[in-house]
């Protein structure tokens, strides 16, 4: 082998090394689009350069020819790899089906084949000899037909790649000047191989015998590398950015210093022209104020504003839409920080806005319900402090809202009830998800007593931790009054019966006894006596009338079983088909139990008549050991007992609730079983006190 030395070796070797290094770098980033093609391209260039280094280092024809032939592999593949890289990099990788690649590879492969078989046909080159006229031994030859075919083909591929890169550069520089560096680098990368190859091929080079193409490709590699590292070419995917920009639902507008539209996306165009479909970008280059003339509000809000983040409403009535308008200044990348334009982004927040409005309306509604509820309501912290109170609550206690929210519930409690108060919250807290109801007295601001039903419900968060209590306060003064009235009537009836009536009857009897002993002789005296007797009898009758009007006398005189039978019979005469069955007989129960159960039966039978839509019912009164069980069954409409017991609006439900309360007051248990369409069963069970305790509790 014969070696020669020429300084040209250094730049070519450098080119090989740089290309190899770039290939390696690209390999590490092979996930990026086009990175693998770039890697192969750089490998091809490296191979080309390495072959050339070795060609330059020798001066005997066979060796030079061998390396030269080897160079052809990289040289002819480089344009193809370049095109593949560009296609992938610009987001057109999908064009590259295996079939297309195979077709594109035909010419380079034929070239390689022809190069290595050139001595038989000289289609690529002929008249090969060593030219030693220069500073180094160079291969001198005459180009054959296929050589030109290959060059032409390579140029076409390079041209297509260059065109695509130019397109990319256009999209990059259009919106801002941010990508100028990247774009410049790409420009150099495109132009370099052409210049280099053209200089060599057409003999314009200052070094006529030196092939400048590998140098050129190295420059391309360097430019690409600068894009890669300085401008993060392979990290930022321009095409993806473009696609996002084009397809995003937010309207994006870029204007320059003169308020001219530099870039606008389809969403913004649809907004500008009030159309649903994407129109050609005739807006670009137009004045922002003219293009968006349809939206004076937008123009108003964006005028002279370089930075903003605000909500605006566009359009009116049905077509009203809400947008979030963000304006940010765009600065030149190079040089000073002068504002180069503005970026405007309009995000449609109508749906969000409407949802927010619905939510607010719902909140408002609930607040209103809370505020206007006819029963007193309050939200109580776990420390017992009132956090929120409604109107009725304030009215019931006579304080205003500010006074109430400063104090605790127990500070309002009537002094006599304070002792029981402390346990209440604890009690409710222990039972999760339950509410607790008690009758309590409160002290109003004017020191009057408020009789109320207090229902406390603890509200929990999703984890089951108690958050606060909801307190409902119901003024039960009416109920209390009714009860007092009932008691009063009982008392008055008793007093009348045992007092006044007895006195009157006795007076009547004594008068009669007197009359029989001392019969008056004068007609006048007889008349007076008769009158006195009449009046005495009349006063007994008056008393009787009053007593009967105050209370059912049958209950007091005959006991529960009989009184109920009389009740049933009274309803039967009005067409009720009520059956009655009792195992109590003549047994008398403590008066308050008799009164309670009688009241329950009366109420239940009234409900059957009024609400069940039937006249058929069964009343049963049984004694089981120490318990009296009263059951009223009907076969009428029925209802949902839970709903009925909780709602306190209509009269019949108040009736049900009161029945329960009355039964519970005598230590009993009250239950309702009902289903719509399946009738209703009302059961009251009351335990009997031990017989020693009862006063008129006797069984015969």
């Amino acid at each position: 082998m014969h070696w020669q030395f020429t300084p040209y070796v250094f730049p070519v070797a450098a080119s090989a090394i740089i290309s190899a290094a770039l290939a390696l770098t690209a390999w590490y980033r092979r996930q990026a689009p086009g990175a693998i093609a770039f890697c192969l391209l750089m490998l091809a260039v490296a191979e080309y350069s390495l072959g050339y280094v070795l060609e330059l280092a020798h001066f005997d024809l066979p060796t030079i020819l061998f390396w030269d032939n080897l160079e052809w592999v990289g040289a002819t593949l480089a344009p193809l790899l370049w095109l593949i890289f560009v296609l992938q990099y610009t987001g057109r990788g999908s064009w590259l089906t295996p079939r297309i690649i195979a077709i594109l590879a035909i010419v380079p492969l034929v070239t390689i084949l022809l190069v290595w078989t050139n001595q038989y046909h000289h289609l690529v080159q002929y008249n090969l000899h060593i030219d030693r006229s220069g500073s180094f031994a160079a291969l001198s030859l005459t180009r054959g037909v296929w050589y030109w075919v290959d060059v032409a083909y390579s140029y076409v591929l390079l041209l297509i790649g260059a065109f695509l890169i130019f397109l990319l550069i256009l999209t990059l520089i259009r919106p801002t000047h941010l990508y100028l560096g990247q774009a410049s680098a790409l420009l150099i990368a495109v132009v370099a191989p052409w210049v280099g190859n053209a200089l060599y091929t057409f003999g314009w080079s200052p070094f006529p015998k030196l092939d400048l193409t590998p140098f050129a490709f190295t420059i391309t590699g360097l430019a690409m590398a600068s894009s890669l590292f300085l401008f993060r070419l392979l990290d930022i995917i321009p095409m993806a950015r473009e696609e996002v920009f084009e397809s995003m639902s937010d309207a994006v507008i870029v204007v320059d210093e003169q308020n001219r539209i530099v870039d606008i996306n389809p969403a913004a165009q649809r907004l500008a022209y009030r159309v649903a479909s994407h129109r050609a970008s005739k807006a670009v280059g137009g004045l922002f104020t003219r293009v968006f003339a349809a939206w004076p509000e937008l123009l108003e809000r964006s005028r002279y504003v370089t930075e903003a983040d605000a909500e605006i409403a566009l359009g009116e009535a049905e077509a009203l839409r809400y947008f979030n308008l963000r304006i940010s200044p765009l600065y030149r990348r190079m040089g000073d920080l002068a504002v180069a334009g503005r970026l405007m982004v309009l995000t449609d927040i109508t749906e969000h806005k409407l949802a927010e409005r619905v939510l607010r309306a719902s909140e408002e509604r609930f607040r209103h319900i809370f505020e206007e509820a006819p029963i007193g309501m309050a939200v109580v912290g776990l420390d017992g402090r009132l956090l929120q109170v409604n109107k009725a609550f304030c009215e019931m206690l006579g304080y205003d809202e500010e006074e109430l929210t400063a104090c605790t519930l127990s500070s309002l409690t009537h002094p006599d009830d304070v002792a029981n108060d402390g346990h209440l919250l604890e009690q409710v807290l222990e039972e999760t998800n339950s509410s607790h109801k008690v009758e309590k007295r409160y002290l109003k601001k004017n020191r009057e007593t408020l009789w109320a039903d207090l229902t406390t419900t603890i509200l929990h968060n999703q984890d089951g931790h108690a958050l606060y209590g909801l307190v409902m306060l119901e003024n039960i003064i009416e109920r209390k009054r009714a009860k007092l009235l009932e008691e009063e009537r009982h008392h008055v009836a008793y007093e009348l019966h045992d007092g006044l009536a007895q006195v009157a009857a006795s007076a009547h009897q004594h008068l009669q006894a007197f009359a029989s002993h001392y019969r008056p002789h004068s007609p006048r005296a007889r008349q007076e006596l008769e009158r006195a007797l009449e009046l005495a009898q009349l006063s007994v009758r008056e008393a009787r009338r009053l007593i009967a009007g105050l209370r059912p006398t049958a209950l007091d005189d005959f006991g529960l079983a009989t009184a109920l039978r009389l009740q049933v019979e009274a309803q039967r005469t009005h067409g009720g088909k009520i059956s009655y069955e009792e195992t109590l007989g003549t047994m008398r129960l403590p008066a308050h139990i008799e009164t309670t159960l009688f009241g329950v039966a009366q109420e239940a039978l009234t409900n059957v008549r009024k609400h069940a839509g039937t006249t058929r019912a069964h009343l049963a009164l049984e004694r089981h050991e120490g318990t009296i069980r009263l059951a009223v069954q009907d076969w009428g409409y029925g209802f949902q007992p839970h709903a009925e017991l909780q709602e306190t609006s209509s009269g019949e439900h108040v009736g049900l609730r009161e029945m329960r309360e009355r039964v519970e007051l005598v230590g009993g248990h009250f239950s309702i079983a009902s289903q719509p369409g399946a009738g209703t069963l009302v059961v009251a069970e009351v335990p009997l006190p031990s017989s020693k305790g009862g006063d008129n509790f006797h069984e015969h």
Binding site: A505, V540, A554, D557, L566
Partner: protein
């Protein structure tokens, strides 16, 4: 034999017990009944229990019992007295005039009831009528209540009906329809005194103290068929 009636006929005074929790009421009754020929007030009770003890001890001909009393109410006392002293007739004293009261009273074994503001004449005639085996009740009302009783308590008790003569049965049947002795006499074309004798025998044979309870008993035991009541 109705010994009480006989004793009365023999001129022996009728022995009475009154029970009322009000002293005033007792005093009123006492004032109306004492010093009346043929009546002797042998005891006063201020509640049901006392009345029962008194009747048990004294076996009076008749007890006037207030419906509403502590310890044991009037109806319970009436039942207890009738069980322990079947020969004692009971008249309940009540504030309220009500068919229901009467019905309950009949079932409890009472001969009838008087109101608290009863006149002296009415009271005395009521007591006398009961002891004479006469009805003290309105005829129509009596008939209706007995019909109802027949409906509610179909005869179950087995009483040797054979002991009643056919004539007595006839009288009993008419009696349960609420007819007076006079009406029965006209119907059977016998004298009133003959009917009285029959009634006396019926009371004795049925072991009841008065005419009302004879009718009640007849129905309760099925001596008089329900159909004949209609």
């Amino acid at each position: 034999m109705n010994t009480d009636l006989l004793s009365w006929l023999k001129g022996k005074p009728t022995r009475l017990v009154i029970a009322d929790d009000h002293e005033l009421a007792r005093a009123g009754l006492r004032a109306m009944l004492t010093d009346q020929r043929g009546f002797e007030l042998v005891g006063e009770a201020s509640n049901g229990q006392e009345a029962l003890l008194l009747c048990r001890r004294l076996q009076p001909d008749l007890a006037l019992i207030d419906v509403r009393m502590p310890e044991m109410d009037g109806l319970s006392t009436c039942r207890a007295v009738k069980q322990e002293c079947p020969a004692t007739s009971v008249i309940l004293v009540t504030m309220h005039a009500n068919p229901e009261y009467l019905f309950e009273a009949l079932k409890a074994g009472a001969a009838g009831y008087v109101l608290k503001d009863v006149s002296q004449r009415e009271l005395i005639s009521a007591v006398q009528n009961v002891l004479h085996g006469e009805s003290i009740l309105n005829q129509e009302l009596m008939a209706r209540l007995l019909q109802r009783l027949a409906r509610e308590t179909p005869g179950q008790e087995d009483l040797p009906a054979g002991r009643l003569s056919p004539r007595e049965r006839e009288v009993l049947e008419l009696l349960t329809k609420g007819q007076t002795n006079r009406e029965i006499a006209r119907k059977l074309t016998v004298s009133v005194s003959t009917v009285k004798i029959h009634v006396e025998h019926i009371l004795a044979k049925l072991g009841v103290s008065d005419r009302t309870q004879a009718a009640v008993r007849a129905i309760e035991t099925g001596l008089v068929s329900t159909t004949s009541m209609e």
